[in-house]
């Protein structure tokens, strides 16, 4: 196998790191939001639902732009983050992770919500009658039952994060080694009139990565399913 160039390796590592953090950090929030959407109905629910779905249908550059307005160093929230905690998100890999997380969030929430809606709430009622408290029921009954949904959602979000481009380039710019994930690196070389070979290599790397993510997701989902009916 052809070995990766340092630039490719850097982009690969960065992509994996960004996607990993994007998913793990947003997962608890994703579960919480999915829970609220699946279990409660309240006046503002369609609006919340709409806002969460926005990144799915909104152009990624718009999302990046809104993030910039909100979290940029001069942004509404960003200036406070900077002044109070000296945190800058723009131009950092954390910023890229935020962009990826926001873009992948609706996919994650959809999966988990679907799983939650399919959970037989009678099983939770049964657990209550057996003496389990709310959190106990959540961790011993609900969570294991929605595990396939969480897994599917996480992997989809992970894969989506690996591919995130528009929001990242707008919000976190394209800094090699810092925010230049594989898609951004690829974009750079595609612009370069002599970059054909480099582009092809990155594209293949990208396809391989995506296929791997899909395959792992499929395998894990199947394993979970068989465990369930074991």
């Amino acid at each position: 196998m052809v070995s990766l160039t340092p630039m490719e390796l850097e982009a690969l590592q960065l992509s994996l790191r960004v996607a990993f953090f994007a998913v793990t950090v947003s997962l608890p929030l994703g579960i919480a939001v999915a829970w609220i959407l699946a279990r409660y109905s309240f006046p503002g629910k369609p609006i919340l639902d709409g806002i969460i779905h926005l990144p799915l249908v909104l152009p990624p550059v718009v999302v990046g732009y809104l993030l910039l307005i909100l979290l940029g160093r001069e942004g509404f929230l960003g200036q406070w983050l900077y002044r109070l905690f000296d945190i800058t998100l723009a131009f950092t890999w954390q910023g890229a992770a935020v962009a990826a997380a926001v873009m992948a969030f609706p996919l994650m929430v959809r999966s988990i919500r679907l799983a939650l809606e399919l959970v037989d709430r009678n099983l939770e009622a049964a657990a209550f009658t057996l003496g389990a408290g709310y959190w106990n029921v959540f961790f011993t009954v609900t969570l294991p039952l929605i595990a396939p949904g969480i897994l599917a959602g996480s992997l989809l979000a992970f894969a989506r994060s690996l591919g995130e481009f528009g929001a990242t380039i707008t919000f976190a710019a394209n800094i090699p080694g810092i925010t230049q994930t594989i898609p951004l690196a690829l974009y750079s070389v595609i612009q370069t009139p002599e970059g054909e070979l480099a582009a092809l290599r990155l594209a293949i790397l990208s396809v391989a990565l995506s296929f791997a993510a899909l395959a792992i997701s499929e395998i894990l989902a199947r394993r979970l399913r068989t465990r369930m009916v074991g």
Binding site: R73, P193, G195
Partner: protein, 250 residues
Amino acid sequence: SPNEGRADSSVESVTLFAAASTTNALAEIVELYKDQSDTRVRTVFAASSTLSKQIVNGAPADLFLSANERWMEHLIDKAAVDPKSKRALFGNRLVLVVGPNNEAESGGQHQKLSPSLPLGEILGTSRLAIGDPAHVPAGIYAKAAMQSLDLWDDYSDKLAFSGNVRTALALVERGEAAAGIVYETDALILPKLGIVGTFPPGSHPPIIYPLAIVTDRHSKAVEDFYGFLAGPEAAKIFARHGFSPSGALQ
């Protein structure tokens, strides 16, 4: 000319692919050309490298205005433009700009930058925005200039790459980057930005903007507009925007 994708086929149209740095000047020129001709002029601005690549791939450009020689030569090599039509229109200079609130001493565009430039102080914890030196002409010039001033090795990890020169400028304007290396013409359109100084002309290859007609795109409309761009009225506008006249080149 075979203008694909055109909305109204009864009106002739000309598509110009031009370096991002010429955005404002060309807007004015196109506006002016409207009074003289029925031809609809469509402009596409991006990094010269991006445009060059797109033209090779068959993008519907009639004319190409590049911010350096290299990407024009590339198109000539690929027989994508008519080499006979190539002519250098004007030149430019490279400056270091800082954001409106930056405390750095702004000597204006007449200040010559030297290796003693306190770039570390100017940047602080922030970054220096430049065009992606892998392909964007402004970035290629910037890298050369930094190298010749011995700044490259110390600050190459403080850079933020942009897809074209105007993105770099926007990053400085928005305060996301403390400073940026852009063309003098770019800096001039945002008076609120501070110009720390100009890179000495010898610190980077000469900045030249060649214009050429894309292969097989010769038509009366294209040639008319080509002539207009190369003509005195356009030259006046380019000069007003700060581009150096072609006579001053070399």
